[in-house]
């Protein structure tokens, strides 16, 4: 069976409400995981709402280690940039369109720790470099905050495909 993985998103005040089954994961001009991005587009010169996501492990495993997050590109078009950070502290900023101040998202991998909790708000924590074994309490990766930032030169329309990837080692 091994581990199974899903992605959770944090919305609302301090990103404290977990959505486990997202209908819409795109960057957009609203803080939720349901509204179609086409209904809440980002206008050139503005930013998306910051988005908090974390990988969540279920299934069976002996140990987890070496977790990283990365994006396929941090410059998906003219006037577009993706910034990101792994959130290590409690009570993160509530999602807004204000620039997060994060650096360009890594395309090679940013290290993250594992957090052992059944409470989503506790995912915003220092965590530990290794996790497991599986038990009745969930294992998450630390939350990964991303934001699509634009300049006035951004072209209208959909952006090209961007992927967010988590990699880890598991025994």
């Amino acid at each position: 069976m091994a581990s199974t993985q899903t992605w959770s998103e944090g919305n609302g005040t301090n990103a404290g409400t977990e959505t486990t089954s997202r209908a819409e994961a795109n960057w957009k001009n609203v803080d939720d995981s349901t509204t179609a991005y086409s209904s809440s587009p980002i206008t050139a010169g503005n930013n998306s709402f910051s988005k908090y996501q974390a990988i969540k492990y279920a299934g069976t495993f002996n140990s987890l280690s070496a977790l990283t997050y990365k994006v396929s590109t941090n410059a998906p078009g003219t006037g577009l940039s993706v910034v990101a950070a792994v959130i290590t502290a409690a009570t993160p900023a509530t999602p807004t369109t204000t620039a997060t101040g994060d650096s360009a998202a890594s395309t090679t991998g940013t290290s993250a720790n594992f957090v052992h909790t059944n409470t989503w708000s506790s995912v915003f924590a220092a965590g530990s470099a290794t996790g497991g074994p599986n038990d009745a309490t969930s294992w998450y990766g630390q939350a990964y905050r991303t934001q699509l930032q634009t300049t006035g030169s951004a072209a209208p329309g959909d952006i090209t495909s961007v992927t967010i990837t988590a990699t880890w080692t598991e025994s």
Binding site: M1, A2, S3, T4, Q5, T6, W7, R22, A23, E24, A25, N26, W27, I55, G59, T60, F61, N62, G132, P133, N134, D135, D158, I159, T160, S161, V162, T163, I164, T165, A166, T167, W168, T169, E170, S171
Partner: protein
Amino acid sequence: MVVPRDSSVEAEYADGYVHSELELGDVPQFGQGNVLTDILSGKLEKEHGRMVRFSCFWKLKRHDVDWTKLPKNARPIRFRHGVSVQDVVTGETWSGWAGVDFGAQWNDRLGRSKKAIRELR
């Protein structure tokens, strides 16, 4: 025919018993973790004798370590390299294994750590 799932492991013991991740659905028989946790615990050796083979499946092939040729302090190693990808635009997600490192670790007579690892990709 049961097709071995990539990166799953099994161990065979002196009395012929095979502890198979695939057959057990990776459900551990001795508490938390998985079938590898069972094998690492050494508890199966009390009932079935010394482990004689440790195997890992990858791309429809079984890779074996002859455990009878290793020191008694040898420990099995199986590290899966996991990948989970989400497409931000389409919302599609998929997960899989990029590879698996498989083999054994032991200490020699001078206490030095030794490894024999195969990087299956």
